[in-house]
Symmetry: C2
Subunit: 231 residues, 2 copies
């Protein structure tokens, strides 16, 4: 039971939860700051809503497809490094054996202690390559179904997050009223979201909440200042 | 010399290069798609430039500060897991020794072979914790100066990337002319950028270039469609 207990101790966040966090953090922040920025420059909520929805479309696709391609590239990178390691242990087994031995000497083993370990690991090509992938290159086999799921999760989370700051502009006729309600609702959402994210990543909830509110607030203020300055 | 040769073989991209890639990929894509989207809905290049600059401000701050906080959270997470491992090897050394042994049994060592290795690793608390951090939890010690450098690199790359699609709108008086020049320049930049990124991550340059152009193009077309549809 130690293993299970231990695993729970070290649990931080599943990959799906992390994808939701990644997508929603940017979805709440960027459309909010863009809408707030435009509020300093245009007088129609219509333009703000159009720009906001265009940004949500652009941002969710860029992040979602970007996440998909990144996951696929990771998978291809893993496969090509694995092929290379297989070739290397075939073409220069002595040098590769020496690399395994070096790892263990680094942990304070002398040659007499290291030799049986190295022999055991190198007796099976797959096991040998597994060891090199993980301990020399620090690469773990990526989950094959993850690319598509990750893309959809990040993209949808961005859309959901992005609608929060925009709905107030859709339902109020005035830019200033829209900005006030949008800022209140979004900063509250950013705080709640940052607190949850903090819990998942081991940061104190209050501190995590203040961090995400700070990022969103700074981004909005700077965007507002720039938009007002050039308009 | 094998070690050096080997390291070069596996070289893909330094962390700074990766930060530039991350920032510039989004900087080229999102402001481009936003500007293209707004081109389907508004008749003044002024509004597009304001919205674009507000987006660049918002996006670069969100990504830069987000990157900074993520790097800092990684560092705190590493430190807290390290403290926990130190406590665990102190409070329940037998269970932790057994975890080290389990890793080596997984590589096909029998108990006689594993015992001296486990003893060597566990003879020094720091070495023992190092081993658990790296091989049990898959965590490597983060570079302490990276958070600030990473934030600045990502943020500035986003700004540079984002100005590419906007400059055409600043220099031409007409929305349609701006859109045409912006699309031509940005898609070319996305292609060149994707090709370089492909080289760094081990993807074929032509394929890498087409991928980034595809993401930018799809994002722009969808943003344009949404903006036109609701306006």
């Amino acid at each position: 039971m130690t293993g299970i207990h231990h695993a729970e101790n070290h649990f931080t966040a599943s990959e799906s939860v992390r994808d939701v966090v990644i997508g929603m953090a940017d979805g709440l922040t960027v459309p909010f700051a863009l809408a707030a920025g435009l509020s300093g420059a245009v007088s129609s909520t219509g333009v703000i809503v159009i720009a906001g929805l265009a940004e949500i479309a652009a941002g969710s696709i860029a992040m979602g497809l970007g996440g998909y391609l990144a996951a696929r590239t990771d998978r291809e990178h893993y496969a090509s490094e694995r092929t290379r390691e297989h070739r290397e242990i075939h073409e220069m087994p002595a040098a590769e054996r020496e690399e395994v031995a070096t790892i263990f000497r680094g942990y304070g083993l002398d040659d007499d202690q290291a030799t049986p370990v190295v022999s055991a690991i190198c007796s099976d090509p797959d096991r040998w390559v597994d060891f090199m992938m993980r301990y020399e290159l620090g690469l773990e086999a990526p989950d094959p179904g993850r690319a598509v799921k990750s893309a959809l999760t990040i993209g949808l989370s961005y859309v959901v997050g992005g609608l929060v700051p925009l709905v107030p502009y859709m339902t109020t006729g005035s830019v200033l009223k829209g900005l006030a309600v949008s800022a209140a609702v979004t900063l509250l959402a950013l705080f709640a979201f940052g607190a949850v994210k903090g819990r998942l990543t081991g940061v104190k909830p209050l501190f995590g909440g203040l961090q995400t509110v700070g990022i969103g607030g700074i981004a909005a203020v700077v965007a507002f200042g720039i938009a007002r300055w050039i308009s």
